[in-house]
Amino acid sequence: MAFEMEAFMGALSVVFALDTFLFILIGVIIGISFGAIPGLAHTMPIAIALPLTLVLPIHQSMGLLIGTYKGGTYGGSITAISFATPGTSGAAATVADGYALTKLGKGKKALQMALYSSIFGDSISDIALIFLVIPIGMVAPDFGPAELTALYIMALSLVVILAADNPGKGFISAGVGFFLAVIGRDVVTGTLRFGFGIRELQAGFSLIPFLMGFFAVPEIVRQMRKVFVNPESVENLGEGSAEELKEEEGLTFKELLSSWRGLSIGTFLGIFLGALPGPGATLSSYTSYSVVGQFTKDKDYGKGSLEGVAAAESANNATCGATFIPMLTFGIPGSSIAAMLMAALIMEGIPVGPRVMVDHTETVYILFLLLLLANPFNFIMGKILIPVYTRLTKLPARFLWPAISVLLVMGTYAYNNRPFDVVIMIISGVIGCFFYWFKISDGPLVLAFLVAPFFEQNFRQALLISGGDYGYFLQSNISRVLWLVTLASLIWFFWKKIKNGHEEPEMRVSD
């Protein structure tokens, strides 16, 4: 797409107006607020706001939706760090290090790192969208079932890496993840499996209720037990008094810079995985968190590392801009959020497809500018809200955890309006408790649960396409490169492990 100055100036005059700023700001506030409520995520406010596109002009409606999207993607980290309860599925990987930092009295640092890395990943992703939309967009359809199978095998190889410290427990963890992922309808034939005669299980274990319950319930049980056994010990969650809280140190520039591996790897993986159809933010953050774990020099990785927060948060926000790439190049919505934003454009009368950048250049520039503009708003609102959430973590546990429990139930129900999702959340919570008591690493479970359906679907689709020929998985150069990278990573990991006896981090909400 050649640069068109006239269209750009037109877009500038539309976007740089008070009403646009106001709608972005409202969107960011709604996004952060909903993102920070477990289960509600940012998909709900976007869905609710969709009809507004019928009455609002495009810069206002898209400003509102983009602000909500970005604010929500960041907002999920707030409760993940403050209460071990990820607000969105994309923030689940932030729990381990983020919450560990909160318990060490470094919640403010963790929240600031989440904010800075989210804004960094998001901004780079927007820039990548603007300058690389054509080249990345043209490559995205080359990822067919065979290539995606290789990609998901690469993601699943992280399960092996995460399980390596304690293979027995690690593979039990992965096995539970695989099993929960296959409950419901067969992803290819649509037949029902592992329903145990329970009608509601036909829809399977939904990701959001599962993650909410798995991470939040064990922590709620643990904290409430303390409330009953020794109320004085949990008057506030973090260490230190209210006076100390006021003086709690913020993130230093040196600490931010020292997390460059997490920031750069997370951003790169977020952009790459965000441009492909699939689980987007959640897979990006887990993959980034696991990969950075192999390169980091931080001994506290997995137990309270700022780099861990940076790895997960830069990755999930870096999917924000990238998710527009297949949409603007071919009109293909790569995720549920992209589908909603595409619907909003259609409702505004913009037919999204390969010609959108030629026929509606000004609209595309408006989108680019809105994406870029939403970042400083997200940053400002994040800065304002960090002290509020830091204080919330210091609320007496007898108020805080019951309130979180209520929000958890409400948010889980509201996610799909399904009462059974609350049951799934509770069952997942019980599983989470067992994992906590038996000190089983949760990383393999979450990765297996996330990736297994996508892997299974693409693997079986590839076999259907090739008529059962396994050679099909190695036919394209993309597939070959992905298989080689997977193999090389595993060899490198085990070689490093044997050579150094390096203790790998466990992605677990440690006590």
């Binding site: 998909t43 976007i46 869905a47 969709l50 009809p51 019928l54 995205a140 359809p141 080359d142 990822f143 067919g144 079932p145 065979a146 419901g184 309808r185 290819v188 034939t189 649509g190 037949t191 029902l192 009608r199 036909q202 829809a203 399977g204 939904s206 159809p277 297949p326 071919f330 009109g331 293909i332 919505p333 790569g334 549920s336 589908a339 909603m340 934003l341 595409m342 619907a343 259609i346 409702m347 009368g349 037919p351 999204v352 497809g353 390969p354 010609r355 959108v356 799909n416 309006n417 399904r418 679907q457 689709q461 259907l464 396409i465 090739s466 008529g467």
Partner: protein, 331 residues
């Protein structure tokens, strides 16, 4: 004299007021949806926000709002829309709740799978027409018509890959109607949905794709895709792609049942059902709704309750379903 004038004026005002009251009542009485004016209904969509089901529901809600009927669109994805359908059939019929669904979830899945409800558990309120589905391939393949595609498959058995959106499902059955597997040797793969079919077509992973016209249209207009035929239940010629023939024109008397319908739980008050149908028909006929639906690849047509029941209950349940079940058993 003054008193007489005042009395005359008062009488005049009174007559006008009474006249206006009666006139208003008459207009109200003429509106066949008067029974539900000011009422609120939940419209449960079985798929995520942003898809064609969701968009059409929102356009309908927008239109009904202008008739002072409040529609709250809720998304309850899961089980290929059977979760939403189950939620509605198990609701109180007087609770103003409707399922916004298509025949696979309301007719075919309940008849062939244990989804917890049957078609008879619904009282269909109103159909509004259907999205158009098409059979398509990349232009660079060089096939310019359905006949050329069939000829190529016959000459190159096992070489062509067809991507669809369901396995052992009405959409798979539709592919069988277009390209019968007992006559033609090709590989069929069930992809994740319309966007997935688009992406796999463009990437060259499948040769032929079955997807909605709205998904294919931008690529068709950009000469990336060739569209061979359509399978609309509503029309023989689609305005958005007037040169594309119907499947019937190439020799198979079949159309794909994707007709969107508002279903109430069985036992809904007949007056409310009638009023809802009338209001929906009114909205469907507006220019704005027609234009909005055309933008998302729909052919919108108003259906009375009788027409809706005839289409779903007779045409689909009694005629298409037995053939579909027979085909399913043979798989």
């Amino acid at each position: 004299m003054k008193i007489m004038k005042k009395i005359s004026l008062l009488l005049l005002v009174f007559v006008f007021a009474i006249g206006m009251l009666f006139a208003g009542t008459e207009v109200q009485a003429e509106e066949p949806w008067a029974e539900i004016v000011g009422e609120s209904f939940d419209l449960i969509v079985g798929y995520d926000a942003g898809g064609s089901h969701d968009l059409s529901a929102r356009y309908l809600a927008e239109g009904l709002a202008e008739l002072d009927i409040d529609i709250d669109v809720s998304n309850m994805p899961g089980g290929d829309a059977t979760e939403a359908a189950y939620h509605v059939v198990t609701s109180d019929p007087d609770s103003n709740i409707l399922f916004w669904g298509h025949p696979p979830a309301a007719v075919f899945d309940p008849a062939t799978q244990d989804v917890g409800y049957e078609y008879e558990d619904f009282d269909p309120v109103a159909s509004i027409g259907s999205p158009t589905f098409v059979l398509t391939a990349r232009t660079e393949q060089g096939w310019e018509s359905y006949e050329e595609l069939v000829e190529y498959i016959e000459e190159n058995p096992g070489q062509v890959v067809v991507g669809g959106q369901g396995m052992n499902h009405p959409m798979h059955y539709a592919i069988e109607m277009m390209l019968p597997m007992d006559e033609l040797d090709y590989n069929y793969v069930n992809l994740g949905g319309g966007a997935d079919v688009q992406s796999n077509l463009l990437g060259g992973h499948v040769d032929v794709g079955h997807l909605s016209l709205s998904a294919a249209l931008p690529l068709y207009e950009d000469d990336e895709l060739e569209v061979f035929l359509h399978t609309s239940t509503e029309t023989e010629r689609v305005d958005l792609a007037p040169d594309v023939p119907h499947l019937r024109e190439v020799g198979t008397d079949f159309s794909e049942p994707h007709t969107l319908t508002a279903f109430a739980p069985e036992g809904i008050d007949p007056d409310v059902r009638e009023a809802l149908n009338a209001a929906i028909q009114e909205v469907v006929q507006t220019e704005e709704f027609q234009a909005n639906m055309e933008d998302i690849g729909f052919e919108a047509s108003p259906y009375s309750i009788e027409e809706t029941e005839e289409f779903l209950g007779q045409e689909l349940v009694e005629e298409v379903l037995p053939e579909y079940e027979e085909w399913l058993e043979a798989q």
